[in-house]
């Protein structure tokens, strides 16, 4: 077995009821990679992410980040280690303004949880504004997060993770729920942001064009296992993938 990458799993398994959501997954992600994950619903993509970010505990196997065993750590602990995450259903503070959401995120980097220190003073405003710009949210900075359209919610969702300065960014279907013509624009913004911050990334995606365009590596999930792993083009040519994932 080769040495560990930035994120690695060994024999990662999880099954609830009869369903096997993760089946002895061995996986390594190298720094700088931009990994796309494809697979049909229920193939275990989100489960894998949930395990890696501590939302679910595996029945067996280990998760390593930076060669440190983080299996079963809380999302909080894992986040603090430098794993950022965005969600299929954007997880934002609907009753806070966009800027407040980001400030709250930023405050947690400094670990200042003052009872009296006003939030605005607890964070470095430039950082926040920079991130807002980066994800093209400046215009909506003072609107309630709950009032944003889906696309911008997705961006805010990512922004809140990005402001934490993660080493790895895991994005669960960043373009789902966004109209096809917006998708590319959205991905452009995201990828530019990730490049600028030099963040290794994993993103779950259904749209093959987007995968072709943005991924440096592709993993195809089938029934809780990685059925194919490699350069996007060859994986997309793999007959099993064609049959079970793209479904042509």
């Amino acid at each position: 077995m080769s040495g560990y990458g930035l994120l690695s799993t060994r024999g990662l398994s999880l099954s609830f009821g009869g369903v096997v959501a993760a089946d002895a997954i061995d996986f390594d992600l190298q720094p700088g990679e931009r990994l796309a994950v494809v697979g049909q619903n229920g193939a275990g993509k989100t489960t894998f992410i949930n395990i890696c970010t501590g939302y679910l505990k595996p029945t067996s196997g280990t998760v390593l980040f930076d060669a440190v065993d983080i299996t079963g750590h809380t999302p909080r602990a894992i986040t603090r280690r430098g794993v950022g995450r965005s969600f299929q259903l954007p997880q934002v503070f609907t009753e806070h303004t966009v800027r407040e959401c980001l400030m709250l995120a930023a405050s947690s980097v400094k670990q200042k949880h003052g009872f009296f220190l006003p939030l605005a003073q607890a964070v470095d405003a430039h950082e926040v504004d920079a991130t807002l710009d980066l994800l093209q949210l400046s215009a909506r900075a003072h609107d309630l997060a709950g009032s944003l359209p889906e696309g911008q919610r997705k961006l805010l969702d990512v922004a809140m993770a990005l402001v934490l300065r993660p080493k790895l960014m895991i994005m669960d279907e960043p373009t789902s729920g966004v109209s096809t013509d917006e998708k590319h624009g959205l991905m452009e913004v995201l990828m530019r942001a990730l490049d600028e911050r030099q963040v290794t990334s994993i993103f779950v995606e259904h749209d093959i064009d987007i995968v072709r365009r943005y991924a440096t590596r592709l993993c195809a999930w089938i029934a809780g296992r990685i059925a194919a792993d490699g350069a996007p083009e060859e994986v997309l040519r793999d007959p099993i993938v064609v049959k079970n994932v793209i479904g042509e």
Binding site: R76, R85, Q91, F93, A105, G114, P118
Partner: protein, 311 residues
């Protein structure tokens, strides 16, 4: 800012009334005591949680004040400080496990605990004076012996001061990192965790603050009455606190006090005018508030103050 002005005007009005009509002192004191307790409840509402047992901290503080007063005849200021401290400690301990719960379970567990306290106070009469509660003689205030009238006046001024400070603290807290995180508990705890912030620790902070404020209210209540009874901790009392929060508006600490005053005078005049229909009136008012003005009286005032933005 216009809000500051409003607060100043109200404070002046309160003092004015108290001096013009001495008999109003007791109700005003009670209103301020309630207001303090309710500002605690408002903190919890920030986190989207409502406790049907928060009066237990007022009750605990009240009893500790009574015990201290009877045992060592401490000064009123000391009594307030110590009993608040006690409420805070109780809140810290109970908070340790109660912050794991949300929604109905949070409300019900608080209720259960307050009922345990209520029953224990009633049961062990030897120590707690049973259902009759404990009386204690008027303590010195600032180490000065005062007759009832001056004592009440002094206590009132003190209570008003404390209320303004408490209100300021609460607002400051709401704007703080912890306060903002607390509000985030209401909308998205998962994200909070994924930001590396512990929702439980944040909520614990809020819970302790709430307990302390309720304790402050309770100790003032006890000093005003010179009497504490288990009733102080009965769950309906906690319900009243939540009611006041909704009546006054949970958006701002000032709402707590506006609500408390409306409540106190509603009570006085329902008791006098339509005896026996107190709960009926309270219930109807609550319904009206929920359906017509869920942001409470303060919500209405706020809209007047800044027409632009409606929170």
């Amino acid at each position: 800012m216009r809000l500051r002005l409003l607060i100043a005007v109200l404070a002046a009005a309160v003092l004015g009334l108290a001096f013009t009509f001495p008999w109003l002192k007791t109700p005003i004191l009670l209103a301020l005591a309630n207001g303090l307790a309710v500002s605690g409840v408002i903190v919890l509402i920030r986190a989207g949680q409502v406790s049907f047992g928060n009066a237990m901290f007022a009750c605990l503080a009240g009893y500790s004040a009574a015990f201290l007063a009877r045992a060592w005849h401490l000064d009123a200021l000391l009594l307030i400080a110590l009993s608040c401290l006690f409420a805070a400690l109780a809140g810290a301990v109970i908070g340790l496990f109660i912050v794991r719960y949300r929604g109905i379970f949070f409300g019900m567990l608080n209720l259960a605990l307050s009922m345990v306290l209520f029953s224990v106070l009633g049961k062990f009469g030897g120590l707690t004076g049973g259902t009759d509660g404990l009386r204690f003689d008027r303590p010195t205030l600032g180490f000065v012996h005062l007759e009832r009238e001056p004592f009440e006046t002094a206590l009132l001024v003190l209570a008003l001061g404390l209320s303004i400070i408490a209100g300021w603290v609460v607002q400051r807290y709401f704007a703080s990192v912890s306060g903002q995180a607390l509000a985030a508990i209401k909308t998205n705890e998962t994200r909070l965790e994924y930001l590396g912030i512990s929702a439980k620790r944040v909520f614990w902070g809020g819970y302790v603050l709430a307990a302390t404020l309720c304790g402050l209210g309770g100790s003032l209540f006890a000093l005003t009455q010179g009497l504490v009874t288990p009733e102080m901790g009965y769950w309906v009392r906690s319900g009243e606190l939540v009611f006041i929060a909704i009546l006054g508006g949970s958006g701002h600490a000032l709402g707590a006090f506006i609500g408390a005053f409306l409540f106190e005078f509603m009570k006085l005049y329902t008791a006098a005018l339509l005896t026996g229909a107190w709960q009926l009136v309270m219930g109807l008012v609550l319904l009206v508030m929920v359906f017509v003005a869920p942001t409470g009286v303060f919500g209405m005032i706020e809209r007047r103050l800044r027409p632009g933005r409606s929170a």
